[in-house]
Symmetry: C2
Subunit: 227 residues, 2 copies
DNA sequence: TGTACATCAGTGAACGCGCGTTCACTGATGTAC
DNA sequence: TGTACATCAGTGAACGCGCGTTCACTGATGTAC
């Protein structure tokens, strides 16, 4: 009732396992653990990722790892969260951009490039996110959804806008479905880029093919002839 | 040199760990282990899939598991091989089918349905194949490639054929790139079908959107209006 | 149709390492006065 | 500017379970004669 004054009871802030509130130093260690997790994900398999290896690789001890994460999965989850924040910016390549004619085609290609680059940089984390999502882990699914959702919404808005500006084609497919398919295509091709190279398909051609599909699907027009 | 006659030295046939050649009974046990592996992959996470659990789940002992597989990965690999054999048949939905006009659009939809159905049935194994492939495991990559390759080649042949029949559009994108992108789209959307539902996108719309993209990309024509 | 022998098949039980996990303790950093 | 105390931070070392892995043995199946 009365003032239990001097006991701070903020409960929403980050806590270590034993209840301490991490300061500068602690957060830095936590980050080193995350970085090391990302690194090992890049070079090794998820199935073989162990707490001890992460801790030792980060130049610290297993006990320290448990200060910040309950298990390996939790560390990967935190890593994925970091990434999804950055990924939401992809929609910047869609909103307030020209989508008509030659400039529109350029926008399509820029979007394709941005997605390709983002996937390349986060390849290792993304594949685990994909796996966990499909295994039914809702926490990972949420992250994945948040990551792609903005982009999908942005694209669907463009579809609506384009349709409203010319009342020609009788295409009434759900704009979100159209956008979703496009985003899926981008995500999948980005994820399997090296698979393509493996078949002898040059990245440049993949990029062009996707740029054309994006442009055509959104605008309903043929892409301007390459020069 | 001369006849070491009666010692059979066939070396390419299936062998158990200790060198025995499995008969009826042994093969049946092996298959039960595979089935159980598939089952556990469906309901649990790959990371938590253990030899002991598979063996006990299949009503046998760990020691028996090692008769047939050196480790969990090997069992999953065998499972993937089974699947890829069946998957090669997807190209049947492309070759010797009509690709013009209304019938062509129907072909597109049938292809989409077939891919969706196949992915659904093999969802659990496929996600592990995808993961392992991206982690750089060449054995899994090979299986994945074999699985999708026939379909890709078949589609690219259609692209070539369609282009040769009408000399209108100046589209000289590598047909394999075009086909590869389409297959990727199909594979990715199939894999993330439930993600779509999650966004409130109905499967029917997804199917239509893909059918349209396939048709348009291959034929260069607008799909016939839905009726 | 029966007996003997070879090989296939399966597993209980044990071994032991790897790894997750924790505790009690030492050291570092911050801040109140 | 210094001392004391609180809290943050880190970890060595140990514990013990889980699990991979193997071996020696029993039982099942097949086939030669």
């Amino acid at each position: 009732m009365s003032s239990s004054a001097d006991t701070t009871t903020d409960d929403d802030e980050l806590r270590a396992a034993d209840g301490r509130v991490p300061g500068r130093r602690g957060l830095a260690t936590r980050q080193r653990l995350l970085d090391q997790t990302a690194e090992m994900l890049r070079s090794g398999s998820y199935r073989d990722l162990k707490v001890v290896d992460i801790a030792r690789g980060a130049g610290t001890s297993p006990a320290t790892f448990y200060q910040y994460f309950p298990d390996v999965e939790a560390a990967v989850l935190a890593l994925a969260q970091e990434m999804s924040l950055e990924g939401a910016e992809l929609s910047g390549h869609v909103r307030d951009r020209p989508w008509k004619g030659r400039a529109g085609y350029a926008t399509s290609l820029e979007l394709v490039d941005a997605v390709l680059e983002f996937w390349e940089r986060n390849r290792a984390v993304l594949r685990v996110v994909d796996l966990a999502t499909e295994e039914g882990d809702m926490r990972f699914r949420q992250i994945r959804t948040r990551l792609l959702n903005e982009l999908t919404v942005a694209l669907s808005e463009v579809v609506v806008k384009v349709r409203s500006e010319k009342r020609s084609v009788a295409d009434d497919t759900d704009p979100m479905a159209v956008a979703g398919v496009l985003v899926s295509m981008l995500a999948h091709v980005a994820a399997h880029r090296w698979g393509f190279e493996f078949w002898g398909i040059r990245t440049g051609d993949t990029r062009t093919a996707m740029g054309r599909i994006v442009f055509t699907t959104i605008t309903g027009q043929k892409p301007p002839v390459e020069r």
